[in-house]
Symmetry: C2
Subunit: 408 residues, 2 copies
């Protein structure tokens, strides 16, 4: 049976993303949260900071005590004491007085600002000259100036970077509710594919896709589960698919590069319970023969066997689905860098083309140099720093055009 | 004892990088190599591919048999057989003949190109019409076209991305010699700092730096080892430093934010065996009070206690040293994005300033909007997408200037 091959546009494929559900959430120590997606809104339980803090080493003062002070006519203040780190000052600062304070120290009552030590000179142990006036709240972070109690500090669906982890820790969140890390099953297919430790005969090739795809999966913040190499045999593929579907949240089947095996990949998927083919062919180059099915809640991709095509399809097509499972509100997180094309690139209308480029930087910005060589060469992916998208209704770009480069 | 505080420029600090040695190497399965640095040159032991492969589904032919073929005057070729995936064709293709082949299949002797199935039409089981001519080697990857035996395919000091891992696997490298992943010890100091699970009194603050720095360390491809919080006490700091120095490859001491404790951090470091202070103060904002010492082979950084300063110093100063330990030939791997400034930013001459910005994208490219708010607010790091460097001898940038944004 030859399925009817109705090629979809990339846009139509992306419309399928919201049809899949985010994975569930789990409680994770804040120390293991970086790179994952928040499954809750985070609301401050307390003010941050909870007290008026100094941001400089110097003297806590009432700003008014310094008004008019200058190099030529310094203010002369009496030193009331020294505030130790972590201490609650046990005195109130009177006008005309100053207290020694360090960065992070708590201002005493009566003080509203800090004069930097560089703008002072000790007269003796009890008094100090001030050479500059300060404004109220200068060199100070006031109570709740960072976040106030009940403020929503981070929203559901946002990525935890190190600074967000630090902030959560600062507000006392030892544990965060995060979306589960997707497990992605990887199946390599093809009678011609042999394991990395085998010596390929002529006509055979080692399994490259399992390794490259696992790397991309891990880089995308998911966990790769390898199911090895399956020969071009529908029954074996069905058995491995069934196992992968019970153990993982997404399945990538790469290869089945012959016309016949592509057909049986679709047949195998159609024969699985609760499984529908959503996409069979995308107007994308490289990557046209991509398949997307839905089996229960699990997206299943049939990726091209050609490794460079599989890599592009992973970056462009699979990633938004993976981000959806992860609970990420941003479906595309790839960095896009503006760069000037070093030469013309042609493209066929009616499909979205992705051209590999290497980037160099000169004083005026980045230059994108298309990587020469046939698209099937792995070398072109190793030499590439990124991809340039040529949209469906464009015939190509001329040398000198400013394009966006998707870093890979 | 108050050390003489001789502030170094960022450039002078970077001159210290090559003084530290790369860590040793270890053998790692290729499946765990992504994100790490190669400690050997990788040389192809065999040609890749080892045979003439098809990159399309169609018919293997001698190009000469198709010359002159067109829609209006197709070439008519006899079908000699079908080449199975992974098979070595057991026949030689004669002129005027064609053999069915799939993407990745091995061309038979006598064939030098492949005509795409889209440009053919079967006449019957034994013959096919060809509507387009092909050139020799079209839709084919020739023997050794990707890499030839004895080619250096990857060089020592290069980063393994998924595509490099795939390539190595494709050439039969099950195990790679990679530089060891640095272990980075993180020590938080300060009498005012309490653990994340504690309820801070006024004057106290939770330990933010341990979490944020650990996140940055892991993002930079190293392993964070947390040594907790040490109060402002030289003996305790010395003891924890000694432990960290025996267990890790780099030590970060953050905090000691009071003038006095900064002094004793230097004293403690100076009192350790085989330890020298290399840098005590950098003409950098934020981050001036940064310390760098060398203890044996181990770089030890004293970072500012203020979390936003510590983050900037990690990104700008620590990262190149960490990349050096990792064996990375590229000391800076942060992505820099050209963007147009949305407003003037001022800067003091004589120091390198780093301004936090958020990025938005319009049709003409990225716009960098300086994040408002005092530099000590963690909020500013959470709102920031990157940093703009204002070099030492610049007074600032005007609105509309094209700047580089270092992504954080």
């Amino acid at each position: 049976m030859k399925s009817f091959f109705k090629v979809k546009s990339l846009e139509q494929v992306m419309e399928q993303v919201p049809g899949f559900d985010c994975l569930g959430s789990e409680s994770v120590p804040v120390s293991e949260s970086v790179g994952r997606i928040l499954a809750q809104d985070l609301v401050a339980q307390k003010d941050l900071p909870g007290f008026r803090r100094s941001t400089m080493d110097g003297f806590a003062v009432a700003a008014a005590s310094t008004f008019g002070a200058s190099e030529s006519s310094p203010a002369w203040l009496e030193i009331s004491g020294t505030i130790g780190m972590g201490d609650i000052p046990d005195f109130e600062l009177m006008p005309g007085k100053a207290a020694r304070i360090s960065t992070g120290g708590m201002l005493p009552k009566g003080a509203d600002s800090v004069i930097m030590v560089e703008h002072t000179q000790l007269v003796d142990d009890l008094s100090v000259e001030i050479f500059k006036s300060v404004a109220p709240l200068q060199h100070v972070i006031d109570v709740s100036e960072d976040f106030a109690r009940h403020d929503r500090i981070l929203t559901q669906g946002s990525l935890i970077r190190p600074q967000e982890a630090g902030l959560a820790a600062g507000l006392g969140f030892e544990v965060l509710e995060l979306y589960r890390t997707p497990r992605v099953g990887i199946i390599s297919t093809g009678d011609e594919v042999v394991p990395v430790h085998a010596e390929p005969n002529p006509g055979q090739i080692r399994d490259i896709n399992s390794y490259a795809l696992a790397g991309f999966v891990e880089q995308a913040g998911a966990r790769a589960v390898a199911y090895g190499i399956v020969p071009d045999d529908p029954d074996q593929l069905r058995a491995v698919c069934e196992t992968a579907l019970t153990q993982t949240d997404m399945v990538l089947i790469s290869g089945g590069s012959s016309v016949g095996s592509r057909d049986y990949t679709v047949e195998v998927l159609q024969s699985l319970p609760d499984t529908r083919i959503l996409v069979h062919g995308i107007s994308l180059s490289p990557g046209k023969p991509t398949i997307l099915a839905r089996s229960g809640r699990v997206p299943v991709f049939g990726l091209p066997g050609q490794v460079t095509s599989a890599m592009v399809v992973f970056q462009i097509v699979v990633t938004p689905f993976l981000n959806r499972l992860k609970g990420d509100l941003q479906l595309n997180r790839q960095t896009r860098i503006p760069a000037v094309l070093s030469r013309n690139i042609a493209s066929a209308q009616g499909r979205t083309d992705y051209v590999r480029v290497s980037l160099t930087k000169d004083t005026k910005g980045y230059i994108a140099e298309p990587v020469l060589g046939k698209s099937g060469l792995i070398r072109t992916m190793v030499m590439a720093d990124g991809l340039v998208e040529i949209p469906e209704n464009t015939e190509g770009y001329e040398k000198g055009t400013l394009v966006d480069v998707i870093l890979i």
